[in-house]
C-alpha cells in the first residue's frame, strides 16, 4: 500500500518541479508605439485542423483562413464588401455580363485558366467552389496575353464578380504534376503575402512573410495557427495569453466579458456578420401552404423577449432575406409584431376552432399539430423552440420539437419530408437570394427547400441578378424584401452577433460590414504588434 501512495506523490512533485510560470502579457500605452511596426508573431486559433492546403479543394472555413495568407484572391473585398483589385489589377465586364476581362501582373493568365479548369472539373470533387463557377464557359474563356484573360460565362449574372474572391490562382507548372487531390494537402505554392514554414497535422501551421511579395507588405512577420477544436479550451488558452484571438460564446461573453482583470489585456468585440436564423416552413404542407397561417404563427414569436432574456441584447430581430448591413436591405419593412390574440383571430377566421373543447384548435376533425425539426445540441435552437412551443400552446397549437443531428435534419428538409425546421444561413457577400427562393430552385437543383413559388418573386429575383447597376439592383431587392416579408416563406427571427476576444497587443484589428475580422482587405493583413509586446516570437527551427 505504501508503494501506491509514494507513486502518487512523486507524480505530483514532478509536475510542480518543472513548472515554468508564464506571466500574463501586459499592455503598454506609451505614445510612440501608435504607428504600425513590422515584425512579430500573431497566434491565431483554428477551430479544427485544415483538410488541405490546396485552395481549389478548400472545404471548411479553417482551410480558407489559412489560404487567405498564402494566396491573394483575384478580387478582394473592402470593408463594405465591395469588390476591389486583388491579384487582378483591373477588370472589365462585357455589356451582356458574360465576359470578364482581367489584367494581372504577377501570375500568368495561363495559371488562371488552369485554376478555373480544375475548379469546374467534377473529378476535383470541390462542390462548393465549383458551384460558384457553375456557369463558366470554356469555349469563350481564353488567354489574351500572359497578363490578360477573358473569362466567359454561359449566363451573365451580377453576383458572379463576388465569386472571383473564391478564385485563388495556383501555378500550373507545380499543380499540373502529381495527384492533384492528395499531393498538395501539406505543401503549397501561392502568390500571397505569406509562405508556409511548416504544418504539423492536428496541431499547428506556421506561416512567414514573403520578402519578395509583389503587393503591399503586411506588418506581421509570422502567423502561427493553433488547432483548438473545443471552445472552452480555446477560451482558457486565451486567458493564459497562449492565443491572440478566438470566437467566444454568448455565455462566456456575459459571464467573463466584464471582468476588469481580463479587460486589461483582452479586447471584447461584438458585431454582426452575414447570417440569420429562420423557421423554414414547408410551403407544400397542406396546413402551412397558407401564408395567412404562417403569418399568424409568426405573431406568436416574442422576439423582444428572446433577445432580452436569451441573448441579453446581443442579437437583433430580422424581417427578411437581407441583414441591415447589406445594401439590399429595405429599412421600411416591419418586423412582425408579437400578438397572439391577433394570431388567434386570424386562425379562427381560417376555420381553426376548438370544436371538441380539448384545448387544441381543430378543423375538419383534425387538431392543429405541427412538427418542428431543430439541430440537436444547438445552443440557438433549443431555447427558441421551447419558447415558441409554449407560446403556441397558449393559443391551442401543439408544436412537437424534434432534435436531429445536422446531416439527418438537412436530409429530411431537402427531401421535403418535414413541416417546419429552425435553421440558419451564412450568406455570400453578394445579396442575391436566387438559390433560396426562385421556383426553379427546388432541391436537388437548388436550395429552395421550402418549395416557395411566386411568379412576382421569380421576376424580381431574375431582375436582381441580371442587373449590373447597384442602384437599380437595390430597388429591385428592396421590393423583393417587402414581398418575401409579406409571403413568409421563412419566418426570419434573429441575427445573433458574433463575439470575439482579441489580445490587446494586436493592433488595428478592424471588422468589415458583415464579413467580420477576416478575409477582407486589409482585414487580418493590416494587423501589427508593438515591438515591446512580441511575446510569442520563439526561435524557429525547420523540420
Amino acid at each position: 500500500m505504501d508503494g501506491v501512495k509514494r507513486f502518487v506523490v512523486l507524480l505530483l512533485l514532478a509536475v510542480v518541479a518543472c513548472t515554468n510560470e508564464r506571466p500574463l502579457p501586459t499592455v503598454s500605452t506609451s505614445e510612440d508605439l501608435k504607428k504600425p511596426q513590422e515584425g512579430g508573431t500573431v497566434v491565431r486559433r483554428l477551430q479544427g485542423d485544415i483538410a488541405t492546403l490546396n485552395p481549389v479543394m478548400a472545404q471548411s472555413v479553417n482551410d480558407r483562413q489559412v489560404d487567405y495568407y498564402l494566396h491573394t484572391p483575384m478580387v478582394h473585398f473592402d470593408a463594405d464588401l465591395s469588390a476591389i483589385p486583388g491579384l487582378a489589377e483591373k477588370w472589365e465586364i462585357s455589356s451582356d455580363g458574360r465576359l470578364y476581362t482581367s489584367d494581372g501582373s504577377n501570375v500568368t493568365a495561363g495559371d488562371v485558366l488552369f485554376t478555373l479548369k480544375k475548379i469546374i472539373d467534377p473529378q476535383t470533387e470541390a462542390p462548393q467552389i465549383a458551384g460558384a463557377f457553375d456557369q463558366l464557359d470554356l469555349r469563350t474563356t481564353r488567354v489574351v496575353d500572359p497578363h490578360t484573360i477573358v473569362v466567359g460565362f454561359k449566363d451573365g449574372i451580377s453576383p458572379q464578380l463576388a465569386h472571383f474572391n473564391d478564385l485563388l490562382v495556383i501555378p500550373e507548372h507545380v499543380y499540373a504534376r502529381g495527384d492533384f487531390k492528395i499531393d498538395f494537402t501539406s505543401r503549397v505554392v501561392g502568390c500571397g503575402p505569406y509562405r508556409l514554414v511548416r504544418r504539423v497535422a492536428g496541431k499547428e501551421i506556421l506561416l512567414e512573410r514573403r520578402p519578395e511579395y509583389w503587393g503591399p507588405r503586411p506588418n506581421l512577420q509570422r502567423v502561427l495557427f493553433k488547432v483548438i477544436a473545443d471552445d472552452i479550451t480555446a477560451w482558457n488558452a486565451m486567458k493564459r495569453g497562449e492565443i491572440d484571438e478566438t470566437i467566444i460564446s454568448t455565455d462566456t461573453w456575459l459571464a467573463e466579458g466584464r471582468r476588469p482583470e481580463l479587460q486589461k489585456f483582452i479586447d471584447f468585440r461584438r458585431f454582426y456578420t452575414l447570417n440569420y436564423n429562420y423557421i423554414a416552413w414547408n410551403n407544400r404542407d397542406p396546413v402551412l401552404g397558407d401564408k395567412r397561417l404562417r403569418r399568424a404563427l409568426a405573431m406568436c414569436i416574442d422576439l423582444k423577449s428572446i433577445i432580452e432574456n436569451v441573448y441579453h441584447g446581443t442579437a437583433r430581430a430580422m424581417n427578411g432575406p437581407f441583414t441591415p448591413d447589406q445594401w439590399a436591405y429595405n429599412p421600411d419593412v416591419p418586423v412582425i409584431e408579437y400578438n397572439p390574440q391577433e394570431a388567434l383571430r386570424t386562425l379562427r377566421s381560417l376555420g381553426w376552432l376548438d370544436t371538441n373543447k380539448d384545448g387544441l384548435l381543430d378543423k375538419g376533425g383534425k387538431p392543429l399539430k405541427l412538427e418542428m425539426l431543430i439541430t440537436a445540441g444547438s445552443i440557438a435552437s433549443n431555447p427558441f423552440a421551447q419558447l415558441f412551443q409554449a407560446e403556441l400552446k397558449k393559443i391551442g397549437i401543439e408544436l412537437d420539437v424534434v432534435p436531429l443531428d445536422f446531416a439527418t435534419l438537412i436530409q429530411r428538409v431537402l427531401a421535403g419530408n418535414y413541416q417546419c425546421a429552425y435553421l440558419s444561413w451564412n450568406l455570400d457577400p453578394d445579396p442575391d437570394p436566387f438559390a433560396l427562393f426562385d421556383s426553379s430552385q427546388f432541391p436537388p437543383r437548388g436550395q429552395n427547400f421550402v418549395f416557395y413559388s411566386n411568379p412576382e418573386a421569380d421576376r424580381l429575383l431574375e431582375e436582381g441578378r441580371r442587373e449590373f447597376d447597384q442602384t437599380k439592383r437595390k430597388k429591385t431587392y428592396q421590393q423583393l424584401h417587402a414581398l418575401l416579408a409579406d409571403d413568409q416563406p421563412y419566418t426570419w427571427t434573429l441575427q445573433v452577433s458574433s463575439k470575439w476576444a482579441i489580445n490587446k497587443r494586436i493592433r488595428d484589428v478592424k471588422e468589415s460590414k458583415g464579413w467580420g475580422l477576416f478575409q477582407w482587405f486589409p482585414g487580418e493583413l493590416g494587423w501589427w504588434i508593438p515591438i515591446d509586446q512580441r511575446t510569442h516570437d520563439v526561435p524557429l527551427r525547420r523540420r
Partner: protein
C-alpha cells in the same frame, strides 16, 4: 492450450465479420451522407451538381448497399480502407498518424488506473464492512458517476488557468522542437497529466470495486478456511492463498476496459486537443466521412477483440480449469 487459442481466434474472426456488417449497416442507416456535409458550409449559393455526382460515383454512393459493402470488404481484406471523403488521403494513413497518440494516452491511463485501483480494492477487501471501507465505496461510486467532460474542464480551470502548473491543451509546447531530449520528455509528460487523470479516475473506481469483490469472493472459499484451520497466519492466508486467485477475474477487466477508454477518449481528446483517433472519429461522424468512420471502427474492433482474446488466454494460463470448462466465448 494451442487448440484453445486457435478456437478463440476463430471466434474472434467470426465476431469481427459480424461487427463489420453491423457497423456498415448502422453507418448507412443514419440519414444523411457525405454530400449533406457540404450544404450551407460555405454560403447560401448552390453546389455544383456534376461535382456531387462525381463524388457519389467515386465512393459508390450511387450503388446498392450490399454492393457498397462488398466493395468495402474487398478493400478491408487487402488492408485498404479507401480514401477519406474530406481530404482524399488514404484512411489507413490518416489512422496510423493518430493511432500512436491514442494508444500512448490510453495505455498510460490504464496502467495508472490499475496501479492505483487494484491495491485500493485489495485493501478495502480486508476491511470489508467497516465504516472506512463503506465510505471509500461511496467515494468511488461518486467518482465513477462524475461526467468526464466536466471533470476535464474543472481540472483545466484549476491546474492550468488558476494555478498555471500545467499546460492547457495539446501534446507538446510551442518550443518543443528546440528542446533537448530530456526536456522534450518532461514537456510531453506535463501535457499528459490532465488527460490521463480524466481518463483514469473512473477506471480507478472500477478496478477498486472489482478487485475488492474478487478478493471477498475468494476469502469465502473452503480452501481459505482450510488454510486458516491448519494454522497459517492471517497475513499469509491473504497474500499466499487468496491474493493470487483473486487476481484472475481482474484479467477479464483488461478486455472490458479498452472499449470504455476508447469511448471516453473521444471527449478527452476533444477537450485537451490530444491529436488521437477519438477526435478523428468525432469529426468523421459529423461529416459522414464513411470510409474513415468504418476504418476507425475496424481498428477499434480489432483492438477490443485482441484485448479480450488476450484476456481469455491469460485467464487460461492463470487458471488451468478454464481450458476444459470453456466451450463457447
Amino acid at each position: 492450450m494451442t487448440s484453445y487459442v486457435v478456437r478463440r481466434l476463430l471466434y474472434a474472426v467470426l465476431t469481427f465479420i459480424g461487427i463489420t456488417i453491423a457497423v456498415f449497416a448502422l453507418v448507412h442507416a443514419v440519414p444523411g451522407d457525405p454530400i449533406t456535409f457540404y450544404i450551407g458550409a460555405h454560403g447560401a449559393h448552390n453546389l455544383s451538381q456534376p461535382t456531387l455526382e462525381a463524388i457519389r460515383h467515386e465512393y459508390h454512393l450511387d450503388e446498392p448497399l450490399v454492393t457498397q459493402y462488398l466493395y468495402w470488404l474487398r478493400g478491408v481484406l487487402r488492408l485498404d480502407f479507401g480514401t477519406s471523403v474530406v481530404d482524399h488521403r488514404y484512411v489507413t494513413t490518416r489512422i496510423l498518424e493518430k493511432l500512436p497518440n491514442s494508444v500512448e494516452l490510453n495505455l498510460i491511463a490504464f496502467l495508472v488506473a490499475a496501479a492505483i485501483g487494484v491495491p485500493i480494492g485489495l485493501w478495502s477487501a480486508t476491511r470489508s464492512g467497516r465504516p472506512i471501507e463503506r465510505a471509500s465505496a461511496v467515494l468511488f461510486f461518486l467518482l465513477y458517476s462524475l461526467p468526464s467532460f466536466w471533470v476535464a474542464l474543472l481540472l483545466m480551470e484549476l491546474f492550468s488557468v488558476k494555478l498555471g502548473l500545467l499546460p492547457t491543451f495539446g501534446m507538446t509546447s510551442d518550443e518543443y522542437l528546440d528542446l533537448s531530449a530530456g526536456q522534450k520528455l518532461i514537456d510531453h509528460a506535463r501535457h499528459l497529466v490532465l488527460p490521463v487523470i480524466t481518463l483514469s479516475y473512473a477506471q480507478i473506481a472500477i478496478f477498486a470495486r472489482f478487485s475488492k469483490s474478487a478478493l471477498t469472493e475468494v476469502i469465502r472459499q473452503d480452501y481459505i478456511t482450510t488454510a486458516r484451520a491448519k494454522g497459517v497466519a492471517p497475513r499469509g492466508v491473504l497474500w499466499r492463498h487468496a491474493f493470487r486467485n483473486a487476481l484472475i477475474p481482474l484479467i477479464t477487466l483488461l478486455g472490458l476496459t479498452i472499449p470504455t477508454l476508447l469511448s471516453v477518449g473521444v471527449i478527452t481528446e476533444q477537450i485537451f486537443q490530444w491529436d488521437g483517433i477519438g477526435r478523428l472519429y468525432f469529426v468523421s461522424i459529423l461529416t459522414r466521412d464513411y470510409p474513415t468512420v468504418l476504418g476507425l471502427t475496424v481498428v477499434t474492433a480489432v483492438v477490443t477483440l485482441f484485448a479480450s482474446l488476450l484476456a481469455d488466454i491469460l485467464y487460461a494460463m492463470a487458471d488451468p480449469r478454464v481450458r476444459f470448462e470453456e466451450t463457447a466465448p
